[in-house]
């Protein structure tokens, strides 16, 4: 007997097809079903977070009109909004949703290498979401410590949820990390082991590279959050002093002594900065594929794009303290981390240039996915450039904890990756369902979202430069340095946010309506080269490829190859089947 690679296990009978409704759609081990489960759960909890943000904006824009939002509620909302959006929506959606769906299909595999572990990872993720939401119902309510959960305030009686709310949050995070580790082992091992014949690493689409690197980052960075969660839970429940200094509350000294709040910040941001790249790298990868497909042009500088993804990933581990310039840490560290922060801007900028150069002289089809992809480039440049401001210590000191920072991270984390999510959903919906999403509704969705988010966040930069502090429930009109125009601007931002939130309902309607009434898509409506579009069935059935696994002969970007009959050559077309000239990379 000889070793045979996973790619050679062609016999479809090896996978036992699920038979009952429960094993096909609920306790499914099929990566596509699990991906959809992740996506639906992530979008559902994301809508909760969106609602929280609307409540926050209503309070900020019309401070005296909504008495149902008390100050402690406001802090609970900002905490949950931030935590949900960053971790439970974006991370789960990009890695659990898109990662699960795309990795086996783009690599030519039948499924993930550990299907049972994959299934368990989803249910543990769902458990984490439920524990998080449960925080609203425990005595004291959810924690209001801010998504960064800084001690000592997080577990002192002045903060909302200082006893049970914070424990719920930490338990939920620990559960999520367990789920993520299980999923992450799957994604990494599948990419390394289960690629089909001919699919070398340097022929993989950039979507897979982005998700792969993000998974590696997550596997190495989430332990930092786990460590800090364990230690803070011990501080809260058992009275240890890992992070808690000697502190009195309401005149009574608490039992703590000698802990270091700064230690928490180091641990948290050692996780926190790679986390934002865990969100950004899949977006970078996916947008490269969207631009390439819809501009009928190969991605410019594929090799550099791969190296940039790897470089950004590695560098992301040495920039964390740029979140801590004003924390009181050793100021010499500020010099070091400002330098590394500026260095990480280099591979990121290279990617931006390459995206633009991909579009240059391309046969651009302004489809809805393309609109979102181009929208990503605009908003990412905008938000990213302000990151250069904030990366420099002297500029960051006055801007820290103002709305400048809020605008920056919302544009690079909230707007740009979300635009990619939308673009990716419009792009891959036909593969997942066999139907096209409605084009008109898609364009309405795009334009209102795109213009609306600019109307929200561009003015917000100016609020920050004026010095408007963040994490304030309200600004008393008596504060001298805040002119009345700020309050007017806040009203403007709130109204824009309401419009943007409302148009997401159009998208949700489109998702459901098109399932029944959408135009039939066929197997490859975008005429794309990547493997997921070459499955024999649409949507792909269990086992993905039918009797034989595909064989790959070229990279993922043979668009508009000179001399070819069509303007695209799928990865699995053999060289002898090409008309006139064949290109193999």
């Amino acid at each position: 007997m000889a070793y045979a690679a996973i790619a050679d296990r062609d016999h479809a009978h090896a996978l036992h097809d699920p038979q009952s409704f429960l094993t096909k759609y609920i306790w499914s081990q099929d990566h596509k079903v699990i991906a959809i489960q992740y996506t639906i759960t992530a979008i559902a909890i994301g809508l909760v977070a969106l609602t929280l943000s609307i409540l926050m904006r209503l309070q900020l824009g019309f401070p005296h009109s909504f008495s149902l939002i008390a100050p402690q509620n406001y802090y609970q909302f900002i905490t949950l909004h931030g935590m949900i959006m960053v971790i439970y929506l974006l991370t789960a959606l990009f890695l659990g949703g898109f990662g699960n769906y795309l990795i086996p299909l783009m690599c030519g595999a039948r499924d993930m290498v550990f299907p049972y572990l994959n299934m368990v990872s989803y249910w543990v993720y769902l458990l984490a979401v439920l524990i998080l939401v449960g925080g609203f119902f425990v005595p004291g309510g959810a924690t209001g410590a801010g998504w960064t959960l800084y001690p000592p305030q997080a577990i002192l009686s002045g903060s909302p949820g200082a006893k049970w709310g914070i424990v719920c949050m930490l338990a939920s995070l620990a559960t999520f990390i367990v789920a993520f580790t299980m999923g992450g082992l799957n994604y990494v091992t599948t990419v390394l082991q289960a690629r089909c014949r001919g699919m070398t690493m340097m022929r993989m689409p950039l979507s897979v590279w982005g998700i792969f690197m993000a998974t590696v980052l997550g596997l190495l960075a989430f332990p930092a959050l786990f460590v800090s969660a364990i230690m803070m839970t011990l501080d809260c429940l058992l009275g240890t002093s890992f992070f808690m200094p000697a502190v009195s509350s309401m005149g009574q000294p608490l039992g703590y002594n000698g802990g270091s709040p700064l230690l928490f910040q180091h641990l948290f941001w050692f996780f926190g900065h790679p986390e934002v790249y865990i969100v950004a790298l899949p977006a970078f990868g996916i947008v490269s594929d969207l631009l390439s497909t819809h501009a009928r042009r190969h991605i410019f500088g594929y090799r550099m794009m791969v190296w940039a993804i790897l470089a950004i990933g590695c560098l992301s581990f040495v920039v964390w303290a740029h979140h801590m310039y004003v924390s009181g840490m050793n100021p010499y560290f500020g010099f070091f981390f400002a330098t590394t922060t500026l260095i990480i801007a280099v591979p990121t900028a290279i990617k931006v240039y390459n995206w633009v150069l991909t579009l240059w002289r391309g046969d651009i089809h302004l489809t809805v996915p393309m609109l979102f992809a181009i929208g990503f480039i605009f908003t990412f440049i905008n938000g990213g450039l302000t990151g250069l401001f904030l990366g420099n210590v002297p500029v960051d000191v006055p801007l820290s904890a103002t709305y400048f920072v809020v605008a920056h991270f919302h544009l690079v984390m909230g707007v740009s990756p979300i635009l990619v999510v939308f673009g990716a959903l419009y792009h891959w919906y036909p593969k997942m369902t066999g139907k096209m999403l409605d084009d008109t509704l898609g364009r309405i969705h795009f334009w209102i979202t795109f213009i609306g988010t600019y109307m929200i966040y561009l003015p917000m930069y100016y609020l920050g430069i004026l010095g408007l502090p963040r994490r304030y429930y309200a600004w008393d009109e008596a504060i001298q340095f805040i002119p009345p125009s700020v309050h007017t601007m806040n009203k403007w931002i709130t109204v824009s946010a309401l419009f943007v939130a409302a148009v997401q309902l159009v998208f949700l309607f489109n998702l459901v309506w098109s399932l029944f009434k959408g135009k039939p898509a066929g197997g490859n409506p975008w005429r794309a080269t990547t493997l997921e579009w070459q499955t024999p069935d649409t949507p792909p059935v269990h086992g993905n490829w039918g009797e034989r696994l595909p064989v790959v002969y070229r990279w993922a970007y043979d668009y508009s190859v000179p001399g070819a009959k069509e303007d695209f050559i799928p990865q699995n077309v053999p060289p002898d089947k090409l008309a006139p000239i064949g290109h193999a990379h």
Partner: protein
């Protein structure tokens, strides 16, 4: 930043670079020399290349390294030696280590040795010995865990509870996290041992489980030794 830390990190980085680059350039679909027929939990999936479970274990060991590395750097920072900490924190009082820790260390070494012997016996196809060494491996690990609990009691009885100070808090925390990881390994050990006992199972089918368990055991022994030296010297 300490130059030695930087040097260590750089070395690790270079090693990882070589391993990763070599890994990335392999073609996972190509045939290899040896022969293993692997039974997947859901049925026979035929023969596989480098078993995915082996890759997954090494990735998981990377995750655990990150975890323990972070715990240890938190330990240093809290002790006042790491960057970011204020000098002159005088509340670090080393705890007197319960003497049973030496016994526990011996138990863990024996456990690792037994697992290694089990792995070796699989290669030599000595079925009876495999069973014996496997059980010994688990038994010594259980003795280690029991001894750790005794050590906790001894420490508490000598006046160092969880909240007595940072050194004792870290002692409980580090040994607790390590113990939990060993417990997780024992869960896999139970499954492997059960497979060996209940069915007339070919050695070849548990070979991978025993190999991976052994790697995990050695890794946890390494972590324990590092932590033990750390706890003894500070």
């Amino acid at each position: 930043m300490n130059i030695w830390v930087a040097f260590g990190v750089l070395t690790i980085g270079v090693i990882i670079w070589f391993v990763l680059v070599k890994r990335l350039s392999t073609r996972s679909w190509e045939r290899h020399g040896s022969s293993v027929h692997v039974r997947h939990a859901r049925g026979d999936i035929g023969e596989v290349g480098v078993p995915p479970a082996r890759i997954a274990l090494w990735v998981f060991l990377g995750v655990i390294t990150s975890l323990f590395g972070l715990f240890i750097s938190a330990y240093f920072i809290r002790m006042g030696h790491g960057h970011g900490a204020m000098h002159g924190i005088s509340d670090w009082h080393p705890v007197s280590k319960p003497p049973i820790l030496w016994f526990n260390t011996a138990m863990l070494v024996l456990s690792s040795a037994a697992m290694q012997a089990a792995r070796h016996s699989v290669r030599l196809n000595q079925r009876g010995r495999v069973r014996g060494y496997l059980f010994a491996g688990g038994a010594f690990a259980l003795l280690f865990l029991a001894g750790q609990l005794v050590g906790w009691h001894q420490l508490r009885d000598s006046g160092y509870g969880l909240t007595s100070g940072p050194a004792s808090a870290f002692f409980y925390l580090l040994t607790g996290v390590h113990g939990l990881h060993l417990l997780g390994g024992l869960v896999v050990w139970v499954k492997t041992a059960a497979r060996m006992r209940t069915r007339a199972v070919e050695l070849i089918e548990v070979r991978l489980s025993i190999e991976l368990c052994t790697v995990y055991w050695h890794y946890l022994l390494l972590v324990w030794l590092v932590m033990f030296i750390l706890l003894l010297s500070t």
